[in-house]
């Protein structure tokens, strides 16, 4: 059963006041708040078990390593990867994408090869590919979107050819919350032999992800957007592909043996984890997934979809409010503007009312350009948000509109 009060009580930060008002936190697309069990495990790690992983003969190091590897197994199970060797810890989604851009690029991208991204990507899923294309004299192609921000699959199919080596698209767009048809994207790419990376930063906390069912080659996501500590993310990659790719960074933990004549790299997944990784954050991610599992990802998806529908209804009823990215396929975010009113002004007034939203370009300037605007106000939801909060958001928007018109 989905017990919203119980869930909310599990997030200490939500009970505070901001500017004298009850906090309404609707900036979950940027980062989510943390449940008690995640906060506690971070404290416990430092008060009871802290020690560097994979390095000690002693009790604490063994414990720490055990918890770290347990977290990896929890993640594997959560996304249904075949092996923990396919779960690489990174700093976040951005580093995961950069890892692929570097390592996959180093091995598989050559002059005149083509890489495809969508027009509505986050900068983190554009810039690493631009950099790769520059390094290798490869070509970056862009899947256009329609007036609502939905990918134009016909145009996508036309872009695919024998030179296409990689397609990188978001599972859910961060700026407007549209769920992209990734299954079709993956299947079409595979027909021409191209590999596919899915940026799952805005999807994994809202929807069931099964990497085997998707058959994607890479799937990247961040811990802090799914109730875990900041500084940890995951790159899932198919084992046979990861094995062929050279290491991304050199250093400790990623080697078998080192001499000045020759260095042997470690096996997967450590080959891609140079240096001491953020192991406490990784362990907190395992615990965050335990939290998600305790509620049930399907229950979360159902609850949040319902909440989004309610929010769309409530906001659409405001005269002079435009929603960007109108679609049947959406999750947990509404991007909007009050006509004739700057997003920053709306955001400042909402802040005064204790409502946290994000304003600006959302690190997706090409998307804003597509809509012909300089930014939006984005309200993004998580498992702990409620319809009452949506009602207060609506009141807040009306107040902002009255003050600013």
């Amino acid at each position: 059963m989905f017990e919203i009060d119980k869930i909310r009580n599990n997030f200490p930060i939500l009970s505070q006041k901001v500017n004298g008002k009850d906090l309404i936190y609707l900036d979950n697309g940027a980062t989510t708040q943390k449940p008690k069990q995640v906060i506690e495990i971070i404290g416990n790690m430092y008060s009871e078990y802290n020690s560097n992983i994979h390095r000690g003969v002693h009790y604490l190091s063994n414990k720490s390593t055990e918890f770290y590897e347990q977290a990896r197994e929890t993640i594997r199970k959560f996304i249904n990867a075949t092996s923990t060797q396919e779960i690489i810890f990174t700093k976040g989604t951005t580093e995961a994408i950069n890892l692929v851009a570097f390592s996959f690029g180093e091995k598989f991208i050559h002059e005149n090869d083509e890489i495809i991204v969508a027009e509505t990507e986050h900068h983190s899923n554009i810039v690493p590919w631009q950099m790769l294309c520059k390094r290798k004299n490869a070509v970056l192609k862009v899947i256009p979107v329609d007036e609502n921000g939905e990918l134009q699959l016909d145009e996508y199919k036309k872009l695919l050819n024998k030179n296409t080596k990689l397609v990188a698209v978001a599972h859910v767009t961060n700026s407007v919350g549209i769920i992209n048809p990734i299954q079709k994207i993956i299947d079409e790419a595979h027909k021409t032999g191209a590999k596919v990376l899915i940026d799952g930063a805005q999807a994994i906390q809202h929807k069931k992800v099964d990497v085997q069912e998707f058959d994607c080659d890479f799937y990247a996501f961040s811990g802090h957007k799914m109730y875990a500590e900041n500084g940890i993310g995951v790159l899932y990659g198919k084992k046979e592909l990861l094995e062929e790719m050279p290491p991304y960074q050199g250093g400790g933990d990623m080697i078998k043996s080192v001499s000045f004549e020759h260095t042997e790299y470690a096996d997967l997944p450590l080959k891609f984890e140079a240096g001491t990784s953020s192991y406490v954050a990784a362990i907190s991610l395992g615990e965050a997934i335990n939290f998600i599992n305790s509620v049930g990802i399907e229950n979360i998806e159902k609850y949040e979809t319902d909440l989004l529908k309610y929010a769309e209804e409530k906001l659409s009823s405001i005269n002079g409010l435009t929603i960007f990215g109108k679609s049947e396929h959406k999750t947990s975010a509404i991007s909007f503007l009050l006509n004739g009113i700057h997003h920053y002004d709306t955001g400042m007034i909402l802040d005064k009312l204790g409502i946290a939203v994000r304003t600006g370009t959302h690190c997706a300037e090409p998307t804003m350009k597509h809509f012909g605007i300089t930014g939006t106000v984005r309200a993004s939801f998580a498992v702990y948000n409620t319809k009452e909060e949506v009602d207060k958001l609506r009141e807040g928007i009306l107040k902002a509109q009255k003050m600013l018109s």
């Binding site: 009113i341 700057h342 920053y344 002004d345 400042m348 370009t361 003050m403 600013l404």
Partner: protein, 141 residues
């Protein structure tokens, strides 16, 4: 009036408001009255790119004094700009450089100057000082 006098005057004006809504409503009103900024001056070189709102700032030096004009696409930012211009308009480079900017803090609008808001205002103040320094170096050797 000195820049300190003008700031005190603004603080006095805002002292009649006791809640944030009145203060912001007044700020929005001030923003709306900011003298129209010529669109042809909204050039790339006059633009201060904030991540949130954009600010344009231009300055003219006449007989020892600097005359600023500015604009923003966000009205709250524009309100703050109008107040800043009121403080610095027609002052000498030395006066500008020696000004201790305290009024935003005193009228409860300091949050607008937080660099983390990226609204372009922090850079605007830096640029006001940079103009003062540049004009001083050019004309007052």
């Amino acid at each position: 009036m000195t820049t300190t006098d003008i700031q005190n005057e603004i603080v006095e004006e805002f002292s009649v408001f006791d809640d944030w809504m009145d203060r912001y409503e007044y700020l929005i009103e001030i923003g709306n009255t900011l003298e129209t900024y010529d669109d042809k001056n909204k050039t790339q070189s006059n633009l201060i790119q904030g991540c949130q709102s954009r600010v344009w700032l231009d300055a003219e030096y006449k007989e020892g004094k600097i005359y600023f004009t500015a604009d923003s696409d966000a009205i709250i930012t524009k309100g703050i700009i109008a107040l800043l211009i009121r403080v610095f308009f027609g002052k000498t480079p030395d006066e500008i450089l020696q000004t201790d900017l305290f009024f935003l803090d005193k009228i409860g609008l300091k949050e607008n100057l937080s660099p983390t808001r990226a609204n372009g205002l922090v850079s605007m103040i830096k640029n006001i000082n940079a103009y003062a320094q540049a004009f001083k170096a050019k004309y007052e050797k």
